[in-house]
């Protein structure tokens, strides 16, 4: 297919291939979750697969491949890893707060009220808002 691949010794090629498959498989699984999970707050967990281990293993694969190909340590992929580690939590928490704010302003019953107000609603610490999976709900209706 392409020429540089041939210049790499077998073990490095094998490890790179496995890491690449693992990384892209995880990224794909994450996006599948984005498509398949039913509620927004559940979907927020899905892309984390790609942003942690998914891009991590592809970066390790790239580091290994270029280090072997160019016969010198190529480490600048660490920068993307650091960037991902620092930025993903920020974007996700910001987005979660924005979604919570929007849902609360529409009085969505599935979303807990603001933490300060929870006491006023005589809610004890540790009490939880739990939503059963949609299928279970359907099952419960059928049972009735």
């Amino acid at each position: 297919m392409s020429i540089p691949v041939l210049n790499v010794p077998g073990w490095a090629a094998g490890v790179t291939a496995v890491l690449l498959l693992l990384g892209s498989g995880l990224a794909f699984t994450g996006c599948l979750g984005l498509l398949r999970l039913s509620r927004f707050y559940d979907r927020m967990h899905a892309p984390t697969l790609g942003t942690t281990l998914g891009i991590g293993s592809v970066l390790i694969a790239s580091m290994l491949f270029f280090s072997v190909l160019q016969a010198r340590p190529v480490l600048h992929e660490i920068l993307i890893a650091i960037l991902m580690v620092v930025t993903t939590p920020i974007t996700l928490t910001l987005l979660a707060r924005a979604a919570l704010y929007r849902d609360r302003s529409e009085d969505d019953p599935d979303v807990p009220p603001m933490i300060g107000k929870q006491r006023m609603h005589s809610l004890q610490e540790g009490e939880v808002f739990v939503q059963e999976e949609e299928q279970d709900r359907g099952q419960a209706l059928l049972d009735e």
């Binding site: 707050y41 559940d42 979660a96």
Partner: protein, 162 residues
């Protein structure tokens, strides 16, 4: 003098390292320019009035980092299983967790750890009530999660920073 030019030594070191990685060279010119830029930037950062803090126990910080890495791998597996098995039942929900930690860096790091781990998400923090709202994808037992967050992460972060 040292305090004036190196207000945040860790930040300066990180900036020099970033510069060298971006340039992909260890030549004297790159090191000199990187050091100069890092010194200037870290002096400018003082204007943001960042609260001071330092890591008291670097070894336990390293241990925590290893634990978090293992936890990330494990929960990647768990979340991938939930997504790929269509019939697997799960129950997601919010858990309110009161926190004892007050150090802003500790709280930030806790938020980052929780959000970076697939399956758990830091949703909200109330600085008056000192409580956080956690969203868990596979919520089996609420008290179990409160215990996990407090014992596994909060206690050790407090050890590291306070």
């Amino acid at each position: 003098m040292l305090r004036r030019w190196l207000p945040f030594p860790l930040l300066t070191a990180a900036l020099i390292l970033t510069w060298l990685l971006l340039n992909e060279s260890l030549s004297p010119g790159a090191i000199l320019l990187g050091t100069l830029l890092a010194l200037i930037v870290s002096r400018l950062v003082v204007r943001f009035e960042i609260p001071r803090s330092r890591i008291i126990r670097p070894i336990s910080a390293l241990k925590l980092a290893c634990n978090v890495l293992v936890e990330i791998v494990r929960s990647n597996n768990a979340v991938a299983r939930i997504i790929l098995m269509p019939n697997k039942r799960y129950r997601s929900g919010f858990v309110l967790i009161p926190l004892d930690m007050r150090n802003p860096y500790g709280l930030t790091l806790l938020a980052c750890i929780i959000t970076a781990t697939p399956g758990t998400l830091w949703v909200e923090f109330d600085s008056k009530e000192h409580a956080m709202l956690l969203h868990v994808l596979d919520l089996i037992d609420e008290d179990e999660w409160r215990r996990i967050i407090k014992e596994r992460y909060e206690k050790r972060l407090m050890e590291i920073f306070e």
